[in-house]
């Protein structure tokens, strides 16, 4: 039997004894491929936000780890994700964001699909002017739909199709944030931005999970949010992150704030939480706004962070929104040198994965343990498939 690509035993030790993931998990294309299956395809991964397709018929082509997908709001308003290819010759169907007025027509031989994915026309498939053939059963040849679920406006996908139901897989976080189970409104064009970062996507998760770095990397926070005002959030196998007890609302020049999420509860007056929902979605919730960062892995050492901000009301104050977007953009930009620096550091031969602070790093260790557990389960499954084939 072939040896596993990496030794994950030390990663799964207790936080005081554990080492971080080996370098290969940040630099090796073979491990990246393994993680693609074990951590991203087999889980509920963040793909996009429903606000990307606000109106029926809106379609947006996307790539997720090299797989061509299309996000569509169908004519009845349901958001769906399909493989962005024709069932005939595998041609790409939608090559730029646009409105589908009627059917999706393949630009090659004009097979047509409804926005709900049904194959509705197969022109000349039985010869010129003959648009049916007994061998071509339209009911079997609809677009290949990817299992998807919308929560907090995020479009989550499970490409392997066999993850537990979303509500079960994310039960812990859904329950934790039940107070915030309220409508969220995307702030619009001024409330979205992307950051392209030369790092492995996991380093962005790891940095997001812990508050240890805050006073050093975000010194501006020290004036009101000190390290001791933060607490760890750890749900092994599901999510981890940090919370603060001293959230202060942003104000404009007139001292006005965003309206609160109604009925969110007094508990959240000064409390806010920041959680990495494994694998690739970073969330923040506050009494008056929320944000999401969807990490798009583009390769071993490249990640695009898609940031979206949400509010409690449909039409919030534009000036305040822009101020808030700028504030968070500045904070997230302060993290870039760290995640890029750790990435460069992963090329130091012999680095043992590093040692954690037993007190301050447990949310990051919680993520590493999840990664290691998922990969070991994946390796065990692959090994057993090989044995079955022999």
């Amino acid at each position: 039997m072939s040896q596993p690509l990496t030794d994950l035993g030390p990663v799964r030790a207790s936080v005081a004894q554990a080492r971080g993931l080996p370098n290969a998990h940040y630099t090796d294309p073979g491990v990246f491929e393994e993680e693609k299956q074990a951590l991203l395809f087999s889980q509920w991964a963040g793909l996009a936000v429903a606000a990307d397709v606000p109106e029926p018929g809106d379609a947006k082509p996307l790539e997720f780890l090299g797989m061509p997908l299309v996000l569509i709001r169908d004519s009845k308003g349901t958001v769906r994700v399909f493989q962005n290819i024709c069932r005939h010759r595998g041609m790409i169907l939608v090559d730029a964001p646009r409105k589908i007025e009627g059917a999706i027509r393949c630009p090659y031989h004009s097979w047509c699909y409804s926005t709900a994915g049904a194959l509705v026309s197969t022109p000349h498939v039985g010869g010129p002017g003959h648009n049916t053939h007994a061998a071509i059963k339209r009911a079997d040849l609809g677009l290949v739909e990817v299992r998807s679920h919308i929560w907090r406006d995020i479009v989550w996908i499970n490409l392997s199709g066999d993850a537990p139901e979303f509500d079960a897989a994310m039960a812990g976080l859904i329950a934790r944030w039940r107070d915030f189970d309220l409508p969220v409104y995307h702030g619009g064009h001024d409330s979205r931005f992307t950051l392209e970062v030369a790092t492995n996507w996991k380093l962005a998760v790891e940095n997001y999970c812990e508050s240890y770095h805050l006073p050093w990397v975000h010194p501006g926070l020290n004036s009101y949010s000190r390290l001791e005002d933060h607490y760890h959030i750890e749900a092994p196998g599901e999510y981890s992150g940090q919370g603060t007890m001293v959230y202060r609302q942003i104000t404009n020049e007139h001292g006005e704030t965003f309206p609160d999420f109604e009925d969110v509860g007094a508990k959240w007056n000064e409390q806010a939480e920041y959680v990495a929902a494994y694998p690739n979605v970073l969330l923040g919730v506050h009494r008056d706004h929320a944000y999401v960062i969807i990490l798009e892995p583009r390769g071993t050492e490249r990640t695009v962070e898609h940031v979206h901000l949400y509010y409690a009301v449909e039409r919030s104050d534009e000036g305040l929104r822009m101020r808030n977007t700028q504030l968070w953009k500045s904070v997230f930009e302060e993290d870039i040198f760290v995640v890029e620096g750790m990435q460069r550091g992963r090329h130091a031969g012999g680095f043992d994965g590093g040692r954690f602070s037993p007190v301050m790093d447990s949310p990051t260790h919680c993520f590493h343990e999840w990664v290691a557990g998922r990969i070991e389960a994946h390796r065990a499954g692959a090994a057993s498939a090989v044995r079955a084939a022999e």
Binding site: I100, G102, A103, C112, V120, H124
Partner: protein
């Protein structure tokens, strides 16, 4: 067909779906041969489907009447 061909090519170049629907339907109506007529009707129907216009239903009905559509 020369004039119609020219208008069809112009409509294709402009990506003008509405024009394509009408022009292909016109081409179909000019044909005496059923296969040739259904060939053009098919194009009119496909562009009507793509455009989501009300012409799709009657075009579909014509093709179906000739056993050319499901």
């Amino acid at each position: 067909m020369t004039d119609l061909d020219t208008r069809l090519i112009a409509a294709h170049d402009a990506g003008n779906l509405r024009a394509l629907i009408g022009l292909y339907a016109e081409a179909a109506d000019r044909m005496n041969d059923l296969d040739a007529a259904c060939f053009y009707l098919t194009h009119a129907y496909v562009f009507a489907l793509e455009a989501g216009t009300s012409e799709a239903a009657p075009l579909h009905a014509r093709l179906k009447a000739h056993g050319r559509e499901a």
